[in-house]
Symmetry: C2
Subunit: 328 residues, 2 copies
């Protein structure tokens, strides 16, 4: 098959559409022929050498795809009915998505949401699982809560805005441009903060404090995030775009009875991923089917241009998601 | 009435048994005639000026008592039956315990556990509510988990060891002396770490990491606590005996998908306290009644010697609890 191979580990732009052995599904894995692959910021980190695949996982980049089952390999759905070759699916991956074929543990397959194309589907698998697992399974967001989403115009961010709205939360976002903030507003964000001009802490504190913060910045925002928490608030850190080590004022956290979690999807075991996938399908798929939550694909480009996709994401050009088309 | 009054705010030892107005119960509060008052490390902090009472609360020290209801003031139990004068009770307080009389919001009254004297009862109210709310309501300790309790020989620590054992967890403790570690072992702790000789991180990591850590040290242990967490582990910070500001390595926390909470009982509102008291009575009182969890009163001294009680606690002389006798 063909896949994106990084020719030079020291050059994150050396992503080349090349020959690569077709993977062989193991026990309880299916083989999927890929139609489209979603691009995530984590993929750019992997190309830079900062985010290695878990042990035993291919080093081909790519955390989510949609496509058609080529070999169901005897695998069954959670309800016990068999998957079959020809079934259209989405898939949450530990790697390997930028390729014509990928193997997927059965628990990480997702149905195509009603009304979605495969390209649309490839744009929402990773963000849906990330948003549901963090907002609900980790932070237990409630109706009426104030959620602060950092990077509201990003792939994860724009999805989080919508899911939180659907759950009855009020949503505040940070972003670096008016254009991105406008898109956030159109999806339901109420408090729009341009982080280049404004200090989010004071805006959020005036609004009563954030019950939940979904953070992708890490160290640089740690102290401000804790200051922005409401009583019993929960800061969930899923990215460290602003560094790894920060000073924590424990007294300030204790005054709020606050909680800080730092989570990741990729290094979980297959059981844990299956649990998250299932909860996501049960809860988020109905929101997609009835249009409460929508995909937002900024652009679709051919997989051979993966390096250009990474560059666009890193340049801040992308609102929502960028998707690679692999085959039709 | 008489109460302990701090004559000089700048002198934490100026605790004097003096005349003070008898408090008057407000709506949904009872008046309790105090038999015994528990001493907590927080009381020593308050005397030092570091732990002010919440707004509207007396500045008389004391977070827990047991005694006899003097005026039930129409208050009822959670099941709707009326409290009556003469009823023997324990009480969780926001302050005011070192006195002959104290007013108590009805939701913060607790029955006397089967077989307990009032003096015994005064020694377990604050620690029981602290331990149950943190281990279960915050950290959701499970059977088979490894719990690390810092300061295992202290009031909170020795109670946490026993409740965790009763819940089927394995328990590790730190303490500063062999004598305290021996007492911890006698109550069920399996891993005994003298923090003066040993680094707890390596011991805990060898044991597979801690699923839950109950921490009273704060900044000084922050980095080591995060290192000692197992995957999906939860660090609950309830004290800052080792300082307020510490460096948090978010990458290390994320590698473990760890959570850090910092909590306090005193500044919660009455509804929240009532919720905790009720859960504690429902779950911990049966453990006290059948002897699974025991009180451990190191010594009982007259309330007029409150300053000596504080000195003994701060000198590390006390294993478990020290109680002030107020009347018989
Ligand atoms: N732990 C997990 O399981 C998991 C899963 C998925 C994603 N993630 C992480 O989540 C983050 C987002 O991923 P993604 O794929 O959605 O990336 P993305 O689409 O590139 O979104 C990141 C967003 O952050 C914004 N941003 C940059 N600096 C900012 C700042 N200082 N304050 C606020 N916003 C800022 C960027 O746009 P503007 O600056 O133009 O506003 C961009 O919209 C990444 O760090 C990724 O690694 C983690
Ligand atoms: N947030 C809340 O709601 C809440 C409620 C109750 C208590 N607390 C806090 O919990 C802590 C314990 O309270 P307490 O009333 O149980 O006090 P305590 O009886 O004095 O217990 C504290 C224990 O810590 C030990 N210790 C001191 N330095 C240590 C170190 N470096 N490493 C490990 N252990 C150390 C002490 O004995 P050795 O050094 O001799 O071992 C002592 O046994 C206090 O900080 C208190 O403020 C918080």
């Amino acid at each position: 098959m063909k896949a994106i191979i990084q020719k030079d580990p020291d050059d994150p732009t050396s992503l080349t559409w090349s020959d690569s052995p077709t993977p062989v599904p193991g026990d309880n894995e299916v083989l999927v022929k890929v139609t489209a692959a979603g691009v995530n910021r984590a993929d750019t980190l992997q190309a830079q050498g900062h985010y290695p695949p878990p042990p035993g996982v291919t080093d081909i980049i790519g955390l989510e795809v949609a496509g058609v089952i080529e070999d169901a390999n005897g695998c069954v759905r959670p309800d016990g009915t068999p998957w079959a070759s020809g079934d259209r699916v989405g898939a949450l991956l530990s790697g390997g998505g930028y390729a014509e074929y990928v193997t997927v543990p059965a628990g990480q397959l997702l149905p195509v949401p009603a009304g979605f194309s495969l390209t649309d589907t490839a744009s929402i698998v990773e963000v849906a699982c990330t948003v549901w697992s963090n907002l609900m399974m980790t932070a237990h967001l409630h109706k009426g809560d104030l959620l602060l989403v950092h990077g509201g115009g990003g792939g994860v961010g724009l999805f989080a805005v919508q899911v939180a709205k659907a759950l009855g939360a009020r949503v505040a976002v940070t972003a670096g441009s008016t254009a991105k903030l406008d898109v956030c507003r159109s999806y339901g964000a109420e408090l729009l903060i341009n982080y280049r001009d404004e200090d989010f802490t004071s805006v959020i504190r005036e609004a009563g404090g954030a019950d939940v913060i979904l953070d992708i910045i890490g160290a640089k925002y740690l102290d401000r995030n804790v200051s922005a928490l409401a009583s019993d608030g929960h800061l969930v850190i899923i990215g460290m775009q602003g560094g790894v080590r920060g000073e924590l004022n424990i007294g300030r956290l204790l005054n709020r009875r606050g909680t800080i979690s730092a989570t990741g999807l990729r290094y979980r075991d297959t059981d844990d991923k299956a649990r998250i996938v299932r909860a996501t399908v049960d809860n988020v798929w109905p929101m997609l089917a009835d249009g409460t939550v929508r995909h937002h694909v900024d652009r679709v480009i051919p997989v051979r241009d993966a390096a250009a996709a990474h560059a666009a994401l890193l340049a801040g050009e992308i609102t929502g998601k960028i998707v690679l088309s692999v085959s039709d």
